[in-house]
């Protein structure tokens, strides 16, 4: 079983459109939406939800006003300024360290694990989809991503599914680290802008720290051929396997509006490019990866 994670560094480069197309092109796969605080895959892939469960993240503290003697010990200990002068804990500022509760002389602070979101296992016409909804303003997106990937691996083993495709979040922080750790290969979807180039360099540095073979494609490449060229050079100089370019095409948005993946909806230039990129990616995941590993 192999795991491919699609990331971008910069947001809005078209990562989800590419992943959704892969998810309808692959023969036998599980797709995971790891962009848990702005999940979009479910809007594109027709599905029926089979199972849902709560995601329990960290704990939060809450002071019982009747038991509190206002000694001030908790306020002094809290490193996150989460406790107000009148001893009310701001749940958004609380980091969930439990230090206040541990030391409170009156045992006036409850410290309980919180439900931070919901996890779903759904069926699409092309195989299972594992996704989630993180509660509004909730934490622990990294933990949630790890759990989704773990569930995908168990399901893959159970059903003998050879491939997991994961749509990763933007950035390079905790949910991204959780989405790429132990993946067999990464695909970076970038765009030909200076911001895209800069962000892609940082994502590549992360991939190198984790020793993960990396592929790259450039979306909307024709919007700035010169920067697209610079990105390709960077790929070549840094051991990134270039898998292709996708031209700017309004059908990408039209597919989104029709709640379909690009390759399902369109026969246009962008859809053709994505199909050829998928072939390259499969080849890399098959032969090249075996040679490297």
């Amino acid at each position: 079983m192999k795991e491919l994670t699609v990331i971008s560094g910069k947001g809005g480069t078209g990562k989800t459109s590419v992943t959704a197309s892969f998810a309808t092109l692959a023969d036998n796969r599980i797709v995971v939406d790891a962009d848990v605080d702005a999940a979009n895959l479910f809007l594109t892939l027709e599905h029926k939800t089979l199972e849902n469960s709560y995601f329990k993240g960290g704990s939060k503290a809450c002071i019982d006003k009747d038991a509190c003697i206002e000694c001030g010990d908790c306020r002094e200990r809290c490193q996150f300024d989460a406790i107000s002068e009148d001893f009310i804990i701001d749940p958004i500022a609380c980091e969930g360290c439990g230090v206040c509760a541990y030391f409170c002389p009156e045992k006036a602070i409850a410290f309980e694990q919180q439900v931070c979101g919901e996890k779903f296992v759904s069926q699409t016409p092309w195989g299972p989809m594992i996704h989630a909804r993180l509660g509004i303003a909730e934490e622990n997106s990294g933990l949630l991503v790890s759990q989704l990937r773990q569930e995908a691996r168990e399901l893959a083993k159970d059903k003998k599914i050879p491939l997991i495709i994961t749509d990763g979040p933007p950035g390079i922080g905790c949910p991204v680290i959780a989405a790429v750790t132990n993946a067999d290969a990464l695909l970076i979807v970038t765009e030909p802008t200076l911001s895209g180039l800069h962000d892609m360099e940082r994502v590549k540095a992360l991939a190198d720290q984790m020793n993960i073979p990396t592929m790259l494609c450039i979306n909307k490449a024709d919007l700035n051929p010169e920067t697209a060229g610079r990105i390709k050079n960077f790929a070549e100089d840094n051991g990134i396997h270039f898998v292709g370019e996708i031209p700017f095409d309004r059908e990408v948005i039209d597919a989104m509006k029709a709640s379909q993946s690009l390759v399902q909806f369109s026969q246009g230039a962008a859809a053709k490019a994505v199909k050829s990129i998928w072939k390259e990616v499969q080849q890399f995941m098959g032969t090249t990866l075996e040679r490297i590993m």
Binding site: R77, C97, V99, V176, R202, K257
Partner: protein
């Protein structure tokens, strides 16, 4: 006054709006704070000079093995498995530590000493036009961006006009950037993905009790879907920016729209005037309230 520019979905044009808005305000107290510390990009457009940089660290524990009696109290208090007893030794996992100092407080032998972990850096510089930019840059491999975002925000002088470029999403990094803002300007993309993520951000802002307005970027993709939503929620749409290949190409080269396209400059100035009006009104209302 602190105006934070945010969006649930990435790539809607937050940074474009932030830097062009900053460049169209005719005042000398405009400062920009790039809180998208995982992927900061404002400096590409603002081009600050004379940059000063400061490394930012947080506390992590280091155990004095001479003093430690392996009582296990630190392991018990730590909620993040960042300090544990393994085979008669105390091990620390600095990258998992949230710097709550619980282990230090609980240790009966005073064996937990202070060490540090580098989160990244905060940079600051001013461009030729006098726009002051402060930005955070998360170290590659570091998972926790909120404490670095909070360090960037600590440098805000609330007297002037501070524009904060927030990271995408609706979880801890975005929330950290949006907290205690006077106004949140949401950059929305009129697509189904954009609308879904916009609604999530609006819900988060309701929790944070921050007044909110919307600007629509690439307004011609699916006209109406954001308008309809904004009307239902009673949120004002402050500006609409049309899509053009010319604008996309200018941004892709790290240039400012307001310098290259006069019609864009007019739209940004209009946007600032409306923001200024809203914030002055709410300030006056606040003062009357007191």
């Amino acid at each position: 006054m602190i105006i934070t520019i945010a969006s649930g979905k990435g790539g809607t044009g937050k940074t474009t709006v932030t830097v062009n808005l900053a460049a169209s305000i005719n005042r000398d107290d405009v400062t920009v704070f790039d809180c998208d510390v995982e992927e900061p990009n404002s400096h590409i457009f603002i081009k600050p000079e004379n940059i000063s940089s400061e490394p930012i660290s947080v506390m992590v524990p280091k155990v004095d093995t001479q003093r430690c009696t392996l009582c296990g109290a630190c392991e018990e208090i730590c909620q993040f498995s960042a300090i544990t007893l393994v085979a008669k030794r105390i091990m620390t996992f600095p990258e998992m530590c949230h710097s709550c100092r619980g282990c230090e407080m609980v240790c009966p032998e005073d064996a937990v000493k202070e060490d540090s972990r580098v989160l990244g850096s905060v940079h600051q510089g001013k461009n030729a036009r006098g726009i002051d930019l402060t930005w955070g840059e998360l170290r590659v491999g570091e998972a926790m961006s909120p404490p670095l975002i909070s360090q960037v925000k600590d440098r805000i002088n609330p007297g002037g006009i501070a524009l904060v470029d927030a990271p995408p999403g609706t979880s801890c990094p975005a929330i950290e950037a949006l907290r205690s803002s006077d106004y949140a300007l949401l950059v929305a993309e009129p697509t189904p993905f954009g609308l879904n993520d916009l609604a999530l951000t609006v819900e988060a802002l309701k929790k944070l009790k921050v007044p909110t307005g919307i600007v629509i970027n690439r307004a011609d993709d699916a006209p109406g879907i954001v308008e309809e939503y904004a009307k239902k929620e009673g949120i004002e749409i402050l500006q609409r920016f049309p899509f053009s290949r010319e604008a996309a190409s200018i941004c892709s080269r790290g240039k400012l729209l307001v310098n290259e396209m006069p019609e864009m400059k007019a739209l940004f100035q209009q946007l600032f005037n409306r923001l200024n009006q809203l914030l002055t009104e709410s300030k006056e209302a606040g003062e009357v309230g007191k």
